[in-house]
């Protein structure tokens, strides 16, 4: 189990050059072990830069990143070991599939860890099982799979490394609704079964609200909110004012409230939205 802590972490691209660009600045927060954290924010808000600092792909230009209390950049000889604790699934990970078979592709990471044949096989089987990749697909070329299957195969390759923390950047981009649901469900099941930390970057506030327990809202390279889903949605109005894409039902409730209907607005699911609106009409009727 691992805890990731950022202390005043910042990152500047092209530092010292005329076109230097501050992507992240002064971020201090802790990703507690076992949490399911959703990260949202505009394009350019620093989300992708932040997650690349979590496993040492980018070195902060200021501040520190700690994994289990150790600054990952303190001892370069241990960086590799630290890095393996945090599995990063980049956007469109299926573009990185390259092996002849799905099985070999999932096995690529564990193989590089120098694990025994037996251990590799068991990890591949376990990762494939979590990602709902049927045995018969394992010996096919990854390029023969459907879009959703390819995506799951690529994520399985990261899971087979058994990371303590799984970070996913927009894992549902470009998938159909069923494919989106499937991916998020397997991630959620994995989280429940293994109690590993999940960090999910998403454009969809609806998805974050449905699956995550905590939300990190990034804005202009810094932390705008970092709290439980319920707490963050108490600020739905502020979120909307910064131009963030809030769940459709929250948006509707905010508009109703502005126009004189006394409904709850810290709500992000259709089921609860239906409740508060129904409740409102019942009370009006009772009066």
């Amino acid at each position: 189990m691992s805890t990731i802590k950022l202390e005043n972490a910042g990152f500047v691209y092209q530092k010292g050059m005329p076109d230097e660009k501050v992507a992240v600045s002064g971020v201090s927060l802790t990703f507690e072990e076992g949490d399911f954290i959703g990260i949202i924010g505009h394009t350019g808000s620093g989300k992708s830069t932040l997650i690349q600092m979590l496993n040492g792909l980018l070195r902060p230009t200021s501040g520190h990143v700690y994994i289990d209390g150790d600054d990952i950049w303190d001892d370069r000889s241990k960086l590799r070991e630290k890095r393996f604790k945090v599995g990063l699934v980049l956007q469109y990970p299926e573009y990185q599939l390259f092996e002849e078979t799905v099985r070999k592709d999932i096995a690529f990471g564990p193989k590089n860890l120098g694990l025994s044949e037996e251990e590799i096989n068991s990890r591949v089987a376990e990762a494939a099982d979590f990602l709902k990749i049927p045995e018969k697909l394992l010996d096919r070329s990854p390029f023969d799979l459907s879009g959703g299957e390819k995506r799951r195969a690529a994520i399985a390759g990261v899971l087979a490394m058994r990371p303590e923390v799984l970070v996913l950047d927009e894992p549902t981009a470009g998938l159909d609704p069923r494919g989106r649901r499937e991916i998020l469900d397997v991630i959620s099941n994995y989280h429940k079964a293994e109690k590993k930390t999940i960090i999910l970057v998403s454009h969809s506030m609806d998805d974050v609200a449905r699956y995550a327990s905590k939300v990190l809202v990034m804005n202009a390279g810094g932390v705008f909110y970092y709290d439980t889903v319920d707490e963050v949605f108490k600020h739905a109005l502020e979120l909307r004012e910064t131009g963030l894409n809030i769940p459709t039902v929250t948006d509707i409730l905010l508009t109703l409230k502005e126009r004189g209907m006394d409904v709850d607005t810290d709500i992000y699911t259709p089921a609860r939205a239906a409740q508060t609106v129904t409740q409102y009409f019942k009370e009006v009727e009772a009066r």
């Binding site: 159909d176 126009r259 609106v277 129904t278 009006v284």
Partner: protein, 278 residues
């Protein structure tokens, strides 16, 4: 309005894999049609059949009366129906925005003065006037996708087919691209065929066609299609959140129409009920 595009009993197979089967479909000039379906349902194949990138295994596709399998008509067909793909990076060829937009008309051998007018108009239509001299790789995804749309516009097509044009964009880029698509349809009367996975985008179309297992599973207005929630889910799709909320409210005994598909419609309907109960 007359039909601009017609699928006449069209089937298509990749080798032994049958992707489309017996499609009959007519798309009217000036219509905004959204095509939905899970991945692998045949949507992209259908798009590629329209402008002759693929030819039917059986049946015929006609664009403005021209048979897509008639090679002598192919250039005219592609001038009539232009295509925009999912990944903007794969469609941009030049190093400056305006040169990219000019690429296709230049290849058609159009008079340079005319090209200038077309390029300026196209760039204006997608709202990229400030970026004419920029390098496309410096633009955001949504801006790049609008460059791709401008490139197609410069061909002055009567129909634009867009294959998941917003799949790789963030919400802001998505809404800007959708705004451009709607404007081209409403103001310039360009026929739009939009393939998408986003139900909210489909809700803005005049008509929705849903493909499933290579066949047309549903064909109707967004209101007709989205009011069938169970059917949508069985087709691997979903209804927009606003429709979901509306259907739940109806279940709770609130008197709403089943076919609400836009947030403002629901807000107005609820406020109207409020007025009558106050």
């Amino acid at each position: 309005m007359s039909n601009l595009i017609r699928f006449d009993n069209v089937s298509f197979s990749y080798g032994s894999n049958r992707v489309l089967e017996g499609i009959d479909l007519e798309i009217r000039e000036g219509e905004f049609l959204a095509v939905l379906g899970y991945n692998g349902s045949g949507k992209s194949t259908m798009a590629k059949l329209i402008n002759g990138i693929l030819l039917p295994t059986e049946g015929k596709v006609y664009v403005d009366g021209m048979d897509t399998s008639d090679e002598t008509k192919l250039a005219d067909i592609r001038k009539t129906a232009g295509m925009v793909f999912q990944n903007p990076d794969n469609q941009i060829v030049a190093t400056i925005v305006e040169e990219d937009v000019a690429f296709a008309p230049e290849n058609l051998g159009i008079d340079p003065a005319e090209i200038r007018i077309r390029v300026d108009d196209a760039i204006k239509a997608v709202g990229l006037e400030k970026h004419v001299k920029d390098a496309p790789h410096k633009l955001s995804g949504g801006q790049k996708q609008r460059v791709a749309i401008a490139g197609v516009l410069a061909m002055q097509p009567r129909c634009i087919i867009l294959d998941e044009p917003t799949a790789m964009l963030d919400p802001k880029g998505r809404s800007l691209v959708m705004g451009v698509i709607e404007r081209l349809n409403r103001e310039k009367g360009i026929t739009i065929v939009l393939i998408t996975h986003f139900m909210e985008e489909a809700a803005r179309a005049d008509r929705i066609v849903i493909l499933s297992e290579g066949k047309v599973a549903e064909n109707g207005s967004p209101k007709e299609v989205f009011s069938k929630k169970e059917r949508m889910i069985s087709l691997g799709l979903e209804v927009p959140p606003v429709t979901d909320l509306t259907l739940r409210l109806i279940d709770n005994g609130i008197d709403l129409r089943k076919d609400i598909i836009k947030p403002e419609e629901l807000v107005d309907a609820l406020l109207e009920i409020k007025e009558t109960t106050d």
